[in-house]
């Protein structure tokens, strides 16, 4: 490295709209080594037949525009360039995109709801969504996924100057569903982005939320909970790319795993580039492993290329239920199973209570209780 060269990040160097730029993964690549490729139903190697059916319906409050547009719409691909093979496959193959626009300074009093439903069948389906929150507007978007599908999609969140976007995304797929998804948020000056991912259902879910900044003052908060049952593979790959000064990011994901071959993967990449002085970032992942045979891989990567950070840290912890917690509750007469439920609910509930929409918060809490009652 020469004196005048900037150090480059070793993470995520590749991005392209062209599928041909990405080789078919073999499973040895860093980006794919945790994902069971054989269960992707051909999403990664071009062998998936594109005749799957997934419907997306949006409900928006007054003042919010919802459009279904063709591939050539100029708003598509502005904020996000596909960063891996399946993402590029989805970008190459989607037929229509959903574009939601929250106009400048608008503050709709209800949330935008997008319901994505898989209709079953063998083939794969592809999707693309663009959500634009114009300057100084404030909006909440809830994206729900359910049904049976083999689905790959990209979602772009474009958060304008001084705007605030809150997103809750729920993955409540049927047991056989496969879903590979990129959610990218691009934050303008002083923009705020808060996302909450809830992943409970599906055979294989691989969700990659990422954040980039186009100007100083951006603030991103990425939270998530997942509950992995026997045989499920639920993977979350986060990337926050700090390329602007004085931006913040906070990542907090928690999961519980129960049953034979329950597999959780959490990758938390944060890059603080040379220009990103004054960055303040923290990322955390915690997993509770409730039974034998379940496995959690948790890999935080913090790459700091500047000497001037306001704060940068990460932590990851995966472990069993604490015997002392269970003992305390049982010593008060609470039966073992109920004590266990209380502790797990408490562990995930501490994050879930940060979901601001009461109805969604309760629904997620109930869903976690249902998982625990299995």
């Amino acid at each position: 490295m020469g004196l005048n060269e900037k150090p480059l990040s070793t993470l995520h160097e590749k991005a392209s709209y062209d599928l041909a730029d990405f080789e078919v993964p073999t499973g040895r690549e860093e980006a794919w080594r945790f994902t069971p490729l054989s269960r992707l139903k051909g999403l990664h190697n071009g062998k998936a037949e594109p005749h799957g059916k997934v419907g997306a319906v949006a409900f928006a409050p007054e003042g919010v525009r919802v459009e279904t547009v063709g591939r050539d719409d100029e708003r598509i691909g502005k904020a996000y360039v596909p960063a891996d093979r399946v993402s590029a496959q989805a970008y190459a193959a989607f037929e229509e995109a959903l574009v939601v626009t929250v106009p400048k300074e608008a503050v709709p009093d209800e949330s935008v709801s997008i319901k994505v439903k898989g209709q079953g069948g063998d083939g794969a389906a592809y999707g693309h969504t663009v959500i634009v929150v114009e300057p100084l507007a404030q909006a909440t978007v809830v994206i729900e996924h359910e049904g049976s599908a083999v689905y790959a999609d990209n979602v772009e969140f474009v958060v304008g100057e001084g705007a605030t976007l809150k997103v809750v995304t729920l993955q409540e797929w049927d047991d056989d569903a496969v879903h590979v998804s990129h959610h990218h948020a691009q934050l303008a000056k002083d923009a705020t982005f808060k996302s909450f991912a809830v992943t409970l259902g599906g055979d294989l879910v691989r969700l990659s939320p990422s954040v980039s900044y186009t100007a100083p003052g951006g603030d991103a908060d990425l939270m998530g909970v997942y509950f992995v049952d026997a045989g499920q593979h639920l993977e979350h790959r986060l990337l926050v790319d700090h390329s602007q000064p004085n931006c913040k990011s906070n990542v907090d994901y928690r999961g519980a795993l129960q049953g034979e071959d329950a597999h959780a993967v959490w990758i938390g990449d944060v890059i603080i580039r040379v220009e990103a002085e004054g960055t303040d970032t923290y990322e955390l992942n915690r997993n509770l492993i409730l039974t034998d045979g379940a496995r959690a891989d948790s890999v935080p990567n913090l790459e700091i290329l500047t000497g001037e950070v306001a704060g940068a840290g990460h932590a990851s912890a995966s472990g069993r239920l604490d015997d002392e917690h269970l003992f305390y509750l049982q010593a008060r007469g609470i039966p073992h199973d109920e004590a266990r439920r209380l502790v797990v609910k408490g562990f995930l509930g501490q994050l879930i209570e940060k979901i601001e929409i009461e109805e969604i918060r309760e629904r997620v809490m109930n869903a976690v209780e249902a998982e625990l009652a299995r």
Binding site: D322, D323, E324, H325, F327, Y328, L329, Q330, A331, R332, G333, I334, P335, H336, E338, A339, L342, V343, K345, G346, F347, L348, G349, Q350
Partner: protein
Amino acid sequence: MSTLEIRELHVAVEDKEILRGVNLTVTAGQTHAIMGPNGSGKSTLAYAIAGHPKYTITGGQVLLDGVDLLEMSVDERARAGLFLAMQYPVEVPGVSVSNFLRSAVTAVRGEAPKLREFAKDLKNGMDALSIDPAFAQRNLNEGFSGGEKKRHEILQMELLKPKIAVLDETDSGLDVDALRVVSEGINRFRASGETGVLLITHYTRILRYVKPDFVHVFAGGRIVEEGGPELAEKLEAEGYEQYTKASA
């Protein structure tokens, strides 16, 4: 009339024998104080009776009203009427005090208390122990001061109404006011005459508020001397030295 009988109890932790033949009977209406030096095995006795998984029973029996407690799970023992106020109550993140207490009361009574009644009992209980009502919404023991944890243990005892309560150093770390408040709680619990108390302590201070009927000196994993309240005064004056030497 309830009775807790501990007979020739031997307990090991990680293959190390800690309790070496403890014999003690606590009958309803009685208060027994156990005093002894650090590391003599007092908490081991308390935890072993309650069924903490870390402790292995290597011999002896513990009977509550003739029924073998050692055959029961931790929660069964509690539902049978045993209560342990812990020396170091553990913090449980994400579980609120009120949710926890309601679950515990429901489990011990065998049915859910009526909401309004429970709220009233809880409020009265907290008032009596000078616990700020805001604690009901806090996470269990999380960020509680030492004294707040101890008061909260006594609150649980009063709500759960056990037959026999084992109090492991509930007095340590309390200032004078808190000590009085906690002692009053223990005395309310004793007042019916239908409950027994096994009070583990280092200090005679609490015994001035909570008068014991019997005092046992614990050293080297067993009871080495027994007497009435006057024994506590003697320990205060002379310390444990004679017992630690003898048991070593």
